[in-house]
């Protein structure tokens, strides 16, 4: 199985998304950095192997697993049931709330204001899928635009091509700070976005290993530490009350 293969090979092929600061980004030495990148390194350490980081776009994440080019994706992958038909998921390793960033001229304050406005998200993100549920209701007021990367979404909002972009709350903050004409928009009425690591669907022992790794990260306080380092606020609770995973 993958676990043996990784140990034999001596490298862990870990896919990350690098246009999603602070979770994954290129630092000013043009090297990968961020919360997910540190997780990849920790995972490799736990196995005693080298890490081989594979930069991916949103829509490339799962094909990398399906076609066996990566051992694991640590890329803010929301654990939807549709996706679970294609890849296997670990227990959640982080949780986000979906939030909009808006152009200062857009006049958007609430989610309802986004009706009739141009709204963007990355192709293949959960925001895109959840937002599409409003398509039938809104009719012509539903004006959605997909982009290849989160970064293109930010650029589009910044340049005023679209009125709002949908992303995770953690990313939204820094973006709004960085650009003069972007500000934080409404928190989106979507369910909380539990994100998991993804691995080959049938490889249960590998998924088990990943589950344990996530447990250990929280137990040892590494989770809190990295969250504080990159996101800067309190690390969110990874459990859901009233049900077993």
């Amino acid at each position: 199985d993958t676990l043996d293969e990784v140990v034999d090979r001596g490298t862990l092929r870990c896919a990350v998304v690098l246009d999603f600061p602070p979770i994954g980004y290129w630092n000013d030495n043009n090297e990968p950095a961020g919360f997910d990148v540190e997780y990849c390194k920790d995972l490799a350490n736990s196995l005693g192997v080298e890490v081989d980081l594979i930069p991916a776009t949103w829509s490339e994440r799962l094909p990398l697993i399906v076609t066996g080019r990566a051992d694991v994706v640590i890329g803010s992958t929301s654990d939807s049931l549709e996706r679970a038909q294609t890849v296997g998921f670990s227990i959640p390793y982080a949780v986000f709330v979906s939030q909009a960033i808006v152009n200062t001229d857009s006049g958007i304050e609430t989610f309802e204001d986004m009706r009739g406005k141009k709204v963007a998200a990355g192709v293949g993100t959960v925001q895109e899928q959840w937002y599409e549920e409003y398509a039938d209701d809104w009719g012509d007021d539903y004006r959605y635009q997909g982009y290849q990367s989160e970064n293109e979404v930010f650029l589009a909002v910044e340049q005023g091509k679209v009125d709002a972009g949908m992303t995770g709350n953690i990313v939204a903050g820094p973006i709004a700070q960085r650009f003069d004409n972007i500000e934080l928009g409404p928190v989106l009425p979507f369910t909380a976005d539990y994100v998991s690591m993804a691995g080959p669907r049938k490889d249960v022992s590998w998924l088990n290993y990943l589950n344990l790794f996530i447990q250990q990260q929280v137990r040892t306080g590494r989770y809190e530490e990295l969250w504080a380092q990159f996101v800067g606020s309190d690390a969110p609770d990874l459990t859901v009350g009233g049900v077993y995973y």
Partner: protein, 216 residues
Amino acid sequence: MDYFSGLQLKDLGFLAEAAGRTLLISGVSIGIGSLVGLIFGWLLTVLGRTGRFLLNAVLDVFRSIPLLIQLVLFYNLFPIIGFSLGPFAAGTLVLTVYTVALVSNVTRSGLESVSPDLRRAARSLGLSYWQDMRHIVWPVGLRAVFPAWVGVALSVVKDSALVSVLGYVELLRASQTLITRTQEPLIILAIAGAFYFALSFPMARAASLYEKRWAQ
């Protein structure tokens, strides 16, 4: 914490390195692709009807499907059939096949452009088929299509930008990375564009001058 930073001098180095990778992947593809394409082009002039039709049909497929699709398809196909290729290997393979498809066409028309009279003249001096090929047909035919070949090579260099969709960090992908970090699309795109232009324009020019001289 600031995850973004302005454009720095060392970013130019980053772009230069990526430009090197653009040259590497297109150079390898053009090199191998041209060799194989020469052979296929020659085959197209000597094969029988069916052979020619079949070979043409196969090569034609690669000219009739967007390169982007070919790249994504092959990149995903190899692991499925059992061996995993990195972006560089997969990109090189697809670009090479693409080059073969284009070069074989160019070669064929070059060889066919050598007039039968010229070949008769060579044969009438007692040159054998292979001597005729080696000393007359290849040099004359290939010289005639050299400019077209340069055109093919340059289009492969430019199309190598598409390998970026596989995650291979060539010039265009590198500029995207920098755009992500610096949010300065205009200047970075201008640098990338200038690089392609500086590579392509002089070569295209030289080839067309050569063509004019040769046409006389």
